[in-house]
Every structure is written in structure tokens, then in C-alpha cells.
């Protein structure tokens, strides 16, 4: 079993990266790999609660993050600096996360066999 880290740095709707990452994560979990996710930079916006895309006519995929636990994806991290720059608290996020300082995130990246960047 490999330790896989998904690094997500893109906002949810500006590009297709966020949705593609989520699909890849669900796929990887089906192969029973040990998966960690980290959200930093504008990637933290993916986890913002209260998303409502009705007027835009596109799918709000943020509720899917709540299903990750069922797929045994339980190691979910957010970089503290990214939250602070955006005026966000962990209470503003749709799922519980572990908040990391920059040095801790640097370490986390070193501890994985495979890193996928979105």
C-alpha cells in the first residue's frame, strides 16, 4: 500500500482542477490506498460551507467532501496560513480538518510515496 498525498491549491469553480481532484481521490480510495488530502492557497475555498450554485446552473460538489469518511479518507489537512489570509476559521468549513503550520505541511509532504498536485 502506498501513501498518497493530494495537494489542492485551486478554487472550486474557477477551473476544473478541484472537481478532477475529487474524482481522482474517490478513484484512489477504491484501490485501498492510504490517502491524505491537504488544502492550501485558494484550495481552502473548496471546503467553504454554505456553497449555493443554483443561480449558476452548475453542480455544487462540496457535499461530496462529507462522503470521504465513508471511503476511509480520514486524513484531511489545511494550511493555517491559507485560512488566515482568507479570513476563514475551521468552523467555516464543511468538514472537520486538521490545521497545519507551514513547517508541519513541509514535513507531511516528505512523508508520502506519491504526491498528486491539483
Amino acid at each position: 500500500m502506498k501513501k498518497i498525498l493530494f495537494i489542492q491549491r485551486r478554487s472550486p469553480y474557477g477551473t476544473g482542477f478541484a472537481k478532477e481532484a475529487l474524482d481522482a481521490i474517490l478513484m484512489a480510495s477504491a484501490f485501498e490506498q492510504e490517502i491524505s488530502l491537504v488544502f492550501t492557497d485558494d484550495g481552502v475555498w473548496q471546503l467553504k460551507n454554505q456553497q449555493d450554485t443554483k443561480t449558476l446552473g452548475i453542480k455544487n460538489f462540496s457535499p461530496t467532501f462529507k462522503a470521504l469518511e465513508l471511503y476511509e479518507v480520514k486524513q484531511i489537512y489545511v494550511e493555517q496560513m491559507a485560512l488566515e489570509q482568507r479570513g476563514l476559521q475551521i468552523e467555516d468549513l464543511i468538514i472537520p480538518v486538521t490545521v497545519l503550520a507551514t513547517a508541519e505541511l513541509r514535513q507531511l509532504i516528505q512523508q508520502h510515496d506519491v504526491i498528486l498536485s491539483f
Binding site: G14, D42, D52, T55
Partner: protein, 101 residues
């Protein structure tokens, strides 16, 4: 004669909004759309620049793009929230439209 500037990129990862603010003229309108709406928020690292901009320009934000991103409540109170019909009105009201992307 004044211009409506549209910005569709997040100020946290792209300098489109910074360039717009540098080059827009006093009295111009600036409309934040798509990921540009992240530039219209209160209590972020970008808010000081936004508040400086509010002294020179009229700032608008497209409300459906705020709603999609779950940040309606985080929008700066001095930035005017508009809908799609309001967007059309602005393009008529201003002499020209300049897109920063």
C-alpha cells in the same frame, strides 16, 4: 467618460485585480466576477487593498458568484452586490468595458 472593469481572477493567486487597480482611473467602476469575487471580501489579507480602492472606484460584485462560493456573508459591506440584470445595466451605464483576466 468612465470605464467598467471586470476582474475574474482571485487576488490571492493572480495579479489581475492588482493591475486593474493600478491602471483604472478615478470614478471608474470595477465589477468582480467568477473567482474575482474573492477580492471583494471583508477580513482577508486583501481587504486593506480593497478599502484603498473603495476611495477611488465604485466596486461591484456578482452575487450569484458569491453564493456559489458560500461567501455572501463575508462580502465587504461597501461593495455593491448585483445580479445578472444589474451586470447588463452596468455595461450600458459605463462608456466602455475592460476585462482583466
Amino acid at each position: 467618460m468612465s470605464i467598467l472593469h471586470t476582474v475574474n481572477k482571485s487576488p490571492f493567486v493572480n495579479n489581475s485585480l492588482a493591475s486593474c487597480l493600478r491602471l483604472a482611473a478615478q470614478g471608474d467602476g470595477i465589477l468582480l466576477i467568477e473567482d474575482g469575487v474573492y477580492g471583494g471580501l471583508n477580513h482577508t489579507g486583501f481587504t486593506p487593498e480593497l478599502e484603498q480602492a473603495l476611495a477611488n472606484f465604485t466596486l461591484y460584485v456578482l452575487q450569484p458568484d458569491l453564493a456559489a462560493r458560500g461567501i455572501v456573508n463575508q462580502a465587504h459591506p461597501k461593495v455593491q452586490q448585483i445580479d445578472y440584470a444589474g451586470f447588463v445595466d452596468l455595461t450600458v451605464f459605463y462608456t466602455n468595458v475592460q476585462a482583466w483576466f
